[in-house]
């Protein structure tokens, strides 16, 4: 029961983007196309799960005075690894995204989960927590990208759906992402009746 909650909770109720409003920068940057959002989700899932697991494995040995440095070293190593892999195996997609992949290091979700959760919990729970949070992040990313690509380019996965004259350039810029993200947060909060304290 507890396992299930660790995993399900960050998907909707405690979603890192819509509820905790973390990781906004990348939600604006890589949501122009659905494909990019999926690759970003994949990269973040790898980093978040692996960093949560490694930090949790080491949690009894990490001296608390340098724990942030240790977490940062682990996270940046993982991010560089995934960046290298994408450059080697998915070059065409990684080319326009490389800088945003590198910026996963500064994504608050990753460090937040490592310090707030993995430092206190066992490996299995940390794994589930990392996976859940990454998916919760991914759901919102793909959702925002879906609307931006559809309304901005008139395509989904580069397949034409809407005619060209409906394309809205605003959707391709950062404000478009803000608007959609705001609408999603609004919708979620009015359904769950959640109010910021």
């Amino acid at each position: 029961m507890k396992n299930k909650k660790t995993f399900i909770d960050p998907l909707v109720d405690n979603n890192p983007i819509t509820r905790q409003v973390l990781g906004i920068c990348s939600a604006l940057a890589v949501t122009v196309k659905v494909e990019q959002a999926l690759v970003m989700t994949f990269a973040l899932t790898f980093v978040l799960v692996m960093s949560n697991v490694s930090v949790s494995l080491l949690r009894k040995y990490i001296p608390s005075s340098i724990r942030i440095i240790v977490q940062l070293t682990i996270i940046s190593t993982l991010v560089t690894l995934i960046d290298q892999f994408l450059k080697a195996y998915m070059y065409d997609i990684s080319k326009p995204m490389s800088v945003f992949i590198a910026l996963i290091i500064t994504n608050c979700i990753v460090m937040g989960r490592a310090d707030a959760y993995a430092m206190q919990n066992n490996v299995k729970d940390s794994f589930l927590d990392g996976f859940g949070n990454a998916l919760g992040y991914g759901i919102i990313l793909v959702l925002v990208a879906f609307f931006r690509e559809l309304l901005g380019f008139g395509t989904i996965f580069d397949i034409k759906i809407l005619p060209d004259f409906l394309n809205n350039g605003l959707m391709l810029l950062a404000p478009g992402a803000f608007i959609i993200l705001g609408l999603i947060i609004w919708a979620q909060r009015s359904i769950t009746n959640f109010v910021e304290e």
Binding site: Y61, S65, T73, F85
Partner: protein, 236 residues
């Protein structure tokens, strides 16, 4: 572990070993990807349809149809230097890329395409947010008629400046002339909608992206000038 210095040292060493190992293993694949990407862009500058090409097809087409020439800044062809031995230096102010050998002597690369009789020149310069990198293809007989242009790397705004990598913008260049009355006039990117369709030296710019459009004008003017000695020497 009691000693925090020993702990952080261990972690750092493990992480760096892991990273060097991975980077060493993947290096070959990555540089191959970069090389293929360049080749793709060179081919699309002369209008070769590469959408159905596999990586092997691109390599093969390159071997069959493309020659790489290295010329001096005075325009004479040098035979004993390969493009791989040159290194690139970018001027961060202007985005201009220069090619040097080990002795800091400047050279210029030219690609020639047999099938459509074109030469392809690398061009680069400043846009709005960063440098624009591309290839510019000219007729190999008169060095004046434009065969095509591509931009393979830029940081321009999607929907505005980024339109330089779209077909509608690039196809405007095809058939234009960079020479007028035997003077190198280059091609002027005007404000959107102001270009005279029949004019030989101007193309329509992008609305909302004046700085990007001006950047294209400037980089063409400057980079074509560098190749002018070669054009003069080899013109038929």
């Amino acid at each position: 572990m009691k000693n925090k210095y020993a702990f952080i040292l261990t972690i750092t060493v493990i992480c760096s070993l892991l990273l060097s190992l991975v980077s060493e293993v993947l290096k070959e694949r990555q540089s191959k990807n970069i090389a293929i990407d360049r080749k793709k862009n060179i081919l699309s500058a002369v209008g070769v349809d590469i959408s159905k090409f596999s990586i092997l097809d691109i390599d093969q087409y390159f071997i069959d149809n493309i020659d790489t020439l290295i010329i001096t800044t005075e325009g004479s062809v040098v035979n004993n230097i390969s493009i791989e031995s040159l290194f690139e230096k970018e001027n961060s102010q202007t985005g201009e890329i220069k090619y040097f050998d080990q002795k800091e002597e400047e050279f210029l690369p030219i690609y020639t395409e047999k099938a459509s009789k074109a030469i392809i020149l690398p061009v680069s310069g400043k846009g709005l947010w960063g440098s624009l990198y591309g290839y510019f293809a000219l007729d190999a007989d008169n060095f004046s008629t434009v065969k095509g242009i591509t931009f393979y790397k830029h940081k321009e705004t999607p929907g505005l400046g980024a339109e330089i990598s779209e077909k509608w913008f690039q196809s405007n260049f095809i058939g234009k002339e960079i020479y007028g009355n035997d003077v190198l006039t280059s091609i002027n990117v005007t404000k959107a909608g102001l270009a005279d369709k029949s004019a030989l030296h101007e193309v329509d710019g992008i609305s909302g992206a004046t700085i990007t459009s001006n950047g294209v004008t400037d980089l063409l003017k400057r980079d074509l000038k560098r190749y002018e000695p070669y054009f003069i020497k080899n013109k038929k």
